[in-house]
Symmetry: C2
Subunit: 350 residues, 2 copies
Amino acid sequence: MKLSQLGELALLEHLKKSFEKKSKKILVGIGDDSAVLKPIQKNLLVTTDMMVEGIHFDQRFITPYQLGFKLISINVSDIYAMGGNPLYVLLNIAASKNVDTDVIEQFLDGVEDALHRYNTILIGGDLSAIHDGMVLGATILGYTDRHISRSGASVGDKLYVTGCLGDSACGLELLKRVKKPVPLETISKEQRAKSRELRNKRRVSISSVRRMLLQMGLSWDIVEPLLRRHLMPEARNPKKIRVATSMIDVSDGLLIDLSRICDESRVGALIYREKIPVSPELKQVASCLGLSPLKLVFSGGEDYELLFTAPPQKRVRAIHIGEIVKRGRFIIDRSGGKKTFSPKGYQHFS
Amino acid sequence: MKLSQLGELALLEHLKKSFEKKSKKILVGIGDDSAVLKPIQKNLLVTTDMMVEGIHFDQRFITPYQLGFKLISINVSDIYAMGGNPLYVLLNIAASKNVDTDVIEQFLDGVEDALHRYNTILIGGDLSAIHDGMVLGATILGYTDRHISRSGASVGDKLYVTGCLGDSACGLELLKRVKKPVPLETISKEQRAKSRELRNKRRVSISSVRRMLLQMGLSWDIVEPLLRRHLMPEARNPKKIRVATSMIDVSDGLLIDLSRICDESRVGALIYREKIPVSPELKQVASCLGLSPLKLVFSGGEDYELLFTAPPQKRVRAIHIGEIVKRGRFIIDRSGGKKTFSPKGYQHFS
């Protein structure tokens, strides 16, 4: 069935039924002119991010489920990057009336699973027709007692990252070669490897992709984490890093996002090249595809790891990759060689 | 200059500079991962609405300034329709890299004037490239002590509307014939007819449209309010109608929006056809263009007048057009004849 046969009102009814969640804090949820929420005695965080077809995603490489999951993850990541707790979500969907309702259904499944993972509730949004290409958006409200902005880094602070960088960009390069969607969702949905049966199903559903990868000399175990990092990224919860003085999520690339911290905090930074966490999977796939691992790591983007600074005396549960200095932006190699860097990474309209 | 020459970072810088507004309530504004706001001891209202090129607007008929103004108005209207006060705005812009920066500049002028009119502050948003057609969106946060939902109408309540209906749809019909943008913004920007000089300018800028209208037998004074209602609608502040039991803004059409109140309140309604306010301008233009005034009034949409119910004993400063009854949905004509109505109005995907 096409969206044109279903109609806006029926889709809205479906959304109300599927996502209606009772909570004493929600006075009015989906379906009125606006949502109404009881006041919370904490600072309110608000963020919004779009995903535009042909720019942020290509439906030949990503399933509707993954799109829904990723849309929520990237928005939650912005709340986490401020040290906040996400709570409420508004969803914007602009889709052609010729889109199959199954696509919307699967997209909403991905949204629902992500909402559940991040303990958030859908409270509203907007639906619209569009002539070509889907445009998706989410707005997330969160709360915090103490926010962590980009502007709090001080000279002497150490620089940390919560996990490996470059995996997502490497996953995208793989997808560009595989040229088809890779179903990962059954795994996440049922919680990975819960039963042998599920593993068998998984083998079946990805068998053609696996064959293609084998021809490229790559095994599924190596590529799966990279594809997953790109197709279904998980936002990093900052609850164990309360000591951060400044923070950002790595969405556009390490160098551009670190530059944002430097700009806003009016400081310089140096990164120890050897300390940046790089996954063995990235190393192997980059070598196989003839890609520069360093380029992926420095300007790949979309990893959604948290990049933050903390005072040197504090114990921090993350990977130490550099220091905040008075001025200049440098990458230090193993032998101590210094190279300046500029904010390379993803920029719209360019 | 094209957006591709300016780039995302420069546009973001421009936004930060133009819209940065200091307020003790805003801890972090435009440019971080999310905005941060101090808590307010009132219920929080959140709404989001998109405007998609080719669906909600046609750049052949509307100027970028008007687009910006309208985007804010339609979102503010949703906050007003809940009995709330709008306060903070997030802006989403997806535009082609080939769009002229002047278009964006004028769009932002319209946004700025509307923000000012409604006493609201831009605190964030998202920018993205898109291959074809602009997609615009806004999210507005507002506050209220007592919200007015669609579900509070009771049998015996009277039905009211804040102003004339159908003008916007009639304005759109005019634009489809004029087939060019009509500059109205200088009037609003400088506050209409403030000086003779301005009026002279206005005459010049709309002279070609005026000639075209004269050929159709229509004078500028007659068409201007209709065009304005469509191109630069103003949201209706509900502060003088605190007694409302249920409320909605007429965005998709009287019959569809009244049906929403009936559905949510589980009641019926009757409308006195003769009591619905219809402007003399609409009557004259509809007659000249051979359009049915009743069709424009009942299912035109985009007027952004408030439609609400209130207890019969309360004094209300609005136009009484009907009653809430137990069941059924009827239009009553002058002679008392009863006709049932169905929710006719704009629906996406159909």
